[in-house]
Amino acid sequence: MNERYRSGVSEFIDNIKNLQRSFLASFLRSGKPTSDKSRAALMFNNFFLHIQGVKTHINTLRPTYTFGLGIISFFLLIIVVVSGVMLMVYYNPSIERAYNTIKDINYVVFAGRLLRNVHKWAGEGMIIFVMLHMTRVFFTGSYAKGREFNWIIGIILLILTFGLNLSGYMLPWDQLAYWALVIVANIIQSPKEITDSLGITQYFDIGGFSKQLFLGGYTAGQESLTRVYFLHIMFFPLFLFIFLGVHFWRIRKDGGLTKPENLEQVGGDTGYASRPEKTGGVFPTFKTYGLMELARGKTPAVDKDIENTVPSWPNLLLAEFAVFILTLAAVIVYSFFVDAPLREPANPLIPENPAKAPWYFLGLQELLSYSAFMGGVGLPGIALLGLALIPYLDREKGHVGIWFSNRQGVIEAVKALFVGALVNVGLLAFVVNFGWFRNWWPNIPQLLITLVNPGNIWVGFMIAWSLWVMRKGSTRMGAIAMFTMFLVSFLIFTYMGTYLRGPNWDFFWSKSQWPVH
């Protein structure tokens, strides 16, 4: 029978027979990743993969360079979003029902407790890993050479991560949530401390105004919960994803992660980095190079691949997949054994004693116990501004991509670690033993305490120390000293607020010494 007279029906039947193949071909347009060409095509033809390069530098693949911290933060975010969307089905943001719906999630809903724990711990894990990621980026000097603004976007992402965690903490409307909300509202109000001292509150009450905006009223209630819920499920996530997109896009445009100028391959590199095939390049062999094989700062040589790069598929993707599975497993195992806290229903009449913020804010709460304005607004503002300006105040580019820049950097970091810890602990010991201005002179004006308190003195010391380091060395060394001290004091203040402060914010060596009441 002549082909021309094939009926539509038989063609239709052939199409059905070929359905699997034709569908797969349309889904994976570049075919199986068997050659360098199809591996590259797989990366840049896939919407979800094209944000990453076709080729990856082997320095990026070294576990001891990145420790996978940024990608772990991202995977935790994915886990948080998936579990959060599921929890939304049952949670009801009303002050009458919020607490009960959380109880239902814990005791009635299928796998509800596990999902809530996963949501909680993955969220708090994000704080830890975002901060560790920031630490990695800082100590490898990866904020230079056009990446200055991306560092700032990273700081914004850090703030959004804190905001998401804090707003989520308030949703169960238990005692923890309610008193955290009250305390945060009053931190927002704390510029009043300054306007009161200057006697201009009745004309310019910025503190009171901001508090009303946050609470949707004068006191914490339904309006406040509605606003916190809006922040948690819409406002913060929306901006988090926008800035995350820009963050990733900029890394890509800057030529991937930072790497040292002169990279030497070491023994461990060859194991995972299979050498590219020279015969099946992305482009026909008569071309000397392909556009996407260009990497910033390097001119590719004829017939030679870009130095020290390997195809992202499978090297990078397998590594990322392994990190994802490990992250997911760790979160689920932890959530299986450790429950997210849930106290009694919110009671506006009885504050918790001690009323403590979530652990990641207890360092700040320690500062708050000296001065609400400096601890809640002033010092965090200075710290965030200082962090954001690091890339602009240290513009040395010599040691990008090397941990601690050089031997001197290691020395400065260790020195700052010990000196910072010693001075910080000494300062806290002094305050615990001898008190502060108001204990000595009860009538002292508040403005003096706002201006001179242990928190300010500590920040002043950090600045002085890093300037002193800078004087004899470089700005990079000063930045290393400053950042190390910032991390050390963050840990010490957080430890102090978490474990050493009891009822009435008094000092106790351990929780077992707390008075019974």
């Binding site: 305390i183 905006l213 004068y218 504050p351």
Partner: protein, 157 residues
């Protein structure tokens, strides 16, 4: 190629009008958006009135202190009159409890004397004193939106 054209300092009328209208359009668009931000400041407060009745003066015998939990005030009844002191700590808004020497906050250890004056801890201000008035039916009204100077006491029949 700006540097090839020598006299670019002068803006032509066409460019000026174009830029001006473009700028005006952007400013108006941003202005409209900025105006809508007013939505976040509520016009109605869905909460308890900040002015509340506490009952007749006879309910507060001479020399007593009464803590009103819901209203978050202490009502003092002394020889020289009534006065109301807020029980909200001025540091971070916890509820203070009364002690032998005054008031104490459980959150960050602020201490106040019997007049609500700060004597210890991080509190930036003294506890507020509120206005007390009497309604026509004889019961007392505390207005927690109106602060009065420390030491203001009210005498009612």
């Amino acid at each position: 190629m700006l540097n090839e054209v020598q006299d670019t300092t002068e803006v032509s009328r066409r460019d000026f009008l174009g830029l001006a209208s473009f700028g005006a359009a952007i400013v108006s668009a941003l202005g409209v958006f900025a105006g809508t931000l007013r939505i976040f400041k509520p016009n109605v407060y869905y909460e308890e009135s900040r002015k509340f009745k506490i009952g007749k003066p006879e309910n507060f015998p001479l020399g007593t202190v009464k803590k009103l939990d819901d209203e978050k005030v202490f009502i003092f009844s002394g020889d020289d009159g009534f006065y109301a002191i807020s029980s909200i700590c001025t540091h971070l808004g916890c509820i203070v409890y009364s002690t032998e020497t005054g008031f104490q906050c459980p959150c960050h250890g602020s201490k106040y004397n019997i007049d609500g004056k700060v004597v210890g801890g991080p509190a930036p201000r003294n506890l507020s004193w509120f206005e007390i008035s009497q309604s026509v039916d004889g019961s007392l009204i505390v207005d927690s939106a109106k602060e009065v100077p420390k030491g203001t006491k009210y005498i009612f029949a």
